[in-house]
C-alpha cells in the first residue's frame, strides 16, 4: 500500500494550499456558498442562545450548510488522525523548538503540546488562559472582524476585497504581538 503510506505522511504546503483553494469554487458551484467558517459560531448562537439579541435574529436555518460543513471538518479530523495516522512524530523547526523550550514547553511530539492542551489543565490558570481566554478572543475577534482566516484571508482575498486584506493584516499583527509579547508573559505566569 504505497499510496496509503504516502497520504499517511504529512502533506506539504504545495499540496495542501491548492486543495484548500479549490474549496472556494467547489462550495460556490455546489450551492452558491461563500467559503467561511467562523459564521458557524454565530449560527450556533442564533439557534441555541439567541436571547432576543438582534444580531442573532435571522434565518439561521438558511445557513444550515455551514453547520454541516463544520461537522464534516470534525469528522475529517477524526479520519485523518485515526485512519490516516502519521507514522512519525511532528517535526518542529529547531528555532521554534528552542524558543518554546525556554518558555517551558517540553512535549513536541504531537500536533498540540500536551503541556498545555491536556484535560488536567482544565481547572487551572493554564486552562483559563489557553482554553477560555484564547477561545473567547477567537470567537469575539472573528465576529467583530466579520470573518476568519477562511472568510477573509482566503475567500475575501480571492474575491479581491480590500477590507479582507485589512482584516488579514490585523490577524497577523495580533498573532505576532501575541507570539512575541503576550505568550512569553502568559507562559511565565502559569509555569
Amino acid at each position: 500500500m504505497e499510496i496509503f503510506e504516502l497520504i499517511s505522511k504529512p502533506w506539504p504546503w504545495y499540496i495542501a494550499g491548492p486543495l484548500i483553494g479549490f474549496t472556494v469554487p467547489i462550495l460556490l458551484l455546489l450551492g452558491n456558498k461563500s467559503f467561511g467558517i467562523s459564521s458557524s459560531l454565530r449560527h450556533i448562537c442564533a439557534a441555541v442562545i439567541p436571547a432576543n439579541i438582534s444580531f442573532f435574529k435571522y434565518d439561521w436555518k438558511k445557513e444550515t450548510w455551514n453547520l454541516f460543513f463544520v461537522a464534516g471538518i470534525t469528522l475529517g479530523g477524526f479520519v485523518a488522525t485515526y485512519l490516516l495516522t502519521n507514522p512519525d512524530s511532528l517535526i518542529v523547526a529547531e528555532s521554534t523548538k528552542a524558543s518554546l523550550s525556554q518558555l517551558g514547553i517540553t512535549d513536541f511530539s504531537g500536533l498540540m503540546p500536551t503541556d498545555i492542551f491536556s484535560a488536567e489543565n482544565i481547572l487551572s490558570l493554564k486552562g483559563l488562559i489557553f482554553f477560555v481566554l484564547g477561545g473567547f478572543l477567537v470567537g469575539f475577534g472573528t465576529r467583530y472582524a466579520g470573518g476568519c482566516t477562511s472568510g477573509h484571508a482566503i475567500m475575501g482575498l480571492s474575491n479581491l476585497q480590500w477590507p479582507s486584506l485589512v482584516a488579514t493584516i490585523f490577524f497577523m499583527v495580533g498573532g505576532f504581538f501575541s507570539t512575541w509579547i503576550l505568550l512569553p508573559w502568559l507562559l511565565n505566569l502559569v509555569s
Binding site: F69, G72, G77, C148, V166
Partner: protein, 170 residues
C-alpha cells in the same frame, strides 16, 4: 451590491444590516434539505483531512508561522488564495453556473473598523489557541477533547460580540 438577489425578508434584513459581519453566506435561492446539505458535510470531511494531514491544525505550525521559522503556513495560505483567485476569475469570466443553474454571487465585504480591532483580537487568540475557527473543529475530531472548552468559549465570545455590538466602535 448589484449582484445580490434577495428573496425573503430575513435575507434582506441580513444583507442590509449585517453584511459587514457575515461570512460564509448562502446565496442560493433554492432551499436544500438534509440530504442536500450532506454535500457540504462531505466537502467538510475532505477539508478536515487536509487540515490535519497538512498539520495546519497544529499549535506548533502556528507558532512557527508567527516566529517566521517556517514557510509552511505562508505557502498553504498563499497558494490557497492564488487558486481561489484564479477560480473566481474563471467563474466570472465564463459565467459558470452552479449545479442548480444559478449565477454565482458573492456578497462584497464592506470596510468597518471591526476589521482592525476584531482582526487584532482574533490574532491574539489565534496564537494562544493555535487555531482559527476551522481548526478548532478539526482538533476536536483529532481527539483533543479539551478543545471543546475552547470552542464553547469561542461561541461565548461570538455571543458577547452580538450583545455588545451596538456599543463597539465600527
Amino acid at each position: 451590491m448589484a449582484t445580490i438577489k434577495s428573496n425573503s425578508t430575513a435575507e434582506i434584513d441580513l444583507l442590509d444590516k449585517d453584511i459587514d459581519t457575515f461570512d460564509g453566506t448562502n446565496q442560493q435561492s433554492k432551499t436544500e434539505n438534509f440530504i442536500g446539505n450532506l454535500k457540504y458535510l462531505i466537502v467538510g470531511v475532505f477539508f478536515g483531512i487536509v487540515f490535519v494531514k497538512a498539520e495546519i491544525v497544529s499549535w506548533f505550525r502556528i507558532q512557527e508561522m508567527f516566529r517566521l521559522d517556517s514557510f509552511h503556513m505562508y505557502g498553504v495560505i498563499g497558494l490557497a488564495v492564488i487558486i481561489g483567485l484564479i477560480s473566481m476569475q474563471i467563474i466570472k469570466r465564463f459565467n459558470i453556473k452552479t449545479i442548480s443553474g444559478e449565477t454565482v454571487s458573492v456578497p462584497p465585504k464592506q470596510f468597518n473598523k471591526g476589521q482592525i480591532y476584531g482582526g487584532f483580537l482574533f490574532g491574539l487568540g489565534w496564537a494562544i489557541t493555535g487555531a482559527c475557527p476551522g481548526p478548532l473543529f478539526a482538533q476536536i475530531g483529532s481527539g483533543f477533547l479539551v478543545v471543546i472548552i475552547t470552542l464553547l468559549s469561542a461561541i461565548a465570545g461570538t455571543w458577547t460580540y452580538g450583545l455588545l455590538r451596538s456599543r463597539l466602535p465600527h
